[in-house]
């Protein structure tokens, strides 16, 4: 007996069942957080391209695809669990689950299915070290960050930022089958980039987070403390950004770009510190430039260190 048929007389609510879904393919694609996914693909590509060793381009494509799908899966799990707070925040209220287009159970099933497929496919077709890292990343983002840290501590994005920092390490592991100092450095750059990036955003979205009950740093510790911490984390981030060049892992072009953009990041962090609410221009500038900063560091590394190797692999 089918519960869903086209010729029946009773509606689902009359029978006590959930109504059949109206979710479209685009709603499911939105669950994958495509913008976050594009950053994950880019940073994983850099990890993959700068890693020593050779990899067939089709295998490299498979690795990137699995990492992207795994990242999307953790996004879907995040949207399933956070539907209640997404609904009250302006930035997230139009996501498919709070809008009612995708049911929470559907988002959960979608996220779990893609998680399983992405990890197993990466393990079978590339290597199990990368697959294990991908599985840990999904677990870290969905369970450690989303279910535990996000609602319980203002350090949520400091620790949770690790989930966003893993993709270049997974890319590296896909080629080498292991992790090394260089891949740890790529990880640390994103890890220490995350707090100033998100706290700059939180400084001009404080009311949003407060309304949702999310203990972001400005909500819990206040604006002044947050502005100081933005500066402190930037002071750690900038030397880390220059470190690949200082350790001989990157060339002079990277060193120059990392130094100049690092100086701009520091200047913006000082402006954020000196700014007082309700002004928010410095925070917005810091948030916007931090995206460009990370993109430039990785792009220069890709061109300078990885491009030659990538082209050689494609030509092989």
């Amino acid at each position: 007996m089918s519960l869903v048929s086209e010729g029946a007389k009773l509606s689902g609510s009359e029978l006590g069942f959930a109504e059949p879904s109206l979710a479209s393919v685009s709603d499911y694609l939105a669950l994958l957080k495509p913008r976050v996914m594009s950053l994950v693909i880019f940073t994983a590509l850099v990890g993959l391209a700068v890693a020593p060793g050779h990899m067939n381009p089709i295998t490299a494509f498979t690795a990137l695809l699995c990492i992207a799908v795994g990242a999307g899966a953790s996004g879907a799990l995040n949207m399933w669990y956070d539907a209640d707070i997404d609904a009250v925040m302006t930035r997230t209220s139009r996501r498919p689950v709070p809008m009612g287009r995708v049911k929470p159970g559907e988002a959960l099933a979608f996220g779990l299915t893609l998680s399983g497929f992405s990890v197993v496919t990466l393990g079978l077709l590339v290597n199990w070290a990368a697959a294990a890292l991908l599985a840990f990343t999904i677990f870290f983002y969905a369970v450690v960050y989303t279910m535990w840290l996000k609602r319980s501590t203002p350090q949520n994005i400091v620790i949770g930022g690790a989930a966003g920092a893993f993709p270049p390490m997974i890319g590296w592991a896909a080629v080498t089958g292991s992790v090394s100092l260089e891949s740890v450095l790529l990880f640390l750059i994103i890890l220490f980039w995350t707090p100033p990036h998100f706290w700059a955003l939180a400084l001009y979205r404080t009311q949003d987070y407060a309304r949702a009950g999310v203990p972001m740093m400005p909500v819990v510790a206040g604006e002044v403390s947050t502005r100081w911490q933005v500066l402190l984390y930037t002071l750690v981030l900038v030397p880390l950004g220059i470190a690949p060049w200082a350790l001989g892992f990157a060339g002079p072009v990277y060193g120059t770009v990392a130094s100049v953009t690092g100086a701009i990041m520091l200047g913006l962090a000082v402006q954020v510190l000196r700014e007082r609410s309700p002004a928010e221009r410095a925070s917005r500038n810091m948030f916007a430039f931090s995206i460009l900063y990370l993109f430039l560091l990785y792009a220069v590394l890709l061109v300078e260190r990885g491009w030659g190797g990538l082209l050689a692999r494609l030509a092989a």
Binding site: M1, G7, G12, E19, P20, T121, L125, W128
Partner: protein, 56 residues
């Protein structure tokens, strides 16, 4: 008067919008599964005999 069929008695009426949404989701799942099969096929060719060698 004839007895209604079982599925008419116990089922759920799908609206046109729900049918369209279900069809688009079904096609997307079919495409994804087809792509996965092709990916495994190509990767088997790429890896050759090494396809069975998967060091942990």
């Amino acid at each position: 008067m004839t007895e209604p069929r079982n599925n008419e008695k116990d089922g759920i009426v799908l609206t046109d919008a729900q049918k369209r949404a279900r069809r688009s989701r079904s096609i997307a799942i079919a495409v994804a599964l087809g792509a996965l099969v092709i990916l495994f096929y190509i990767m088997t060719l790429v890896k050759g005999p090494g396809v069975l060698v998967r060091p942990i």
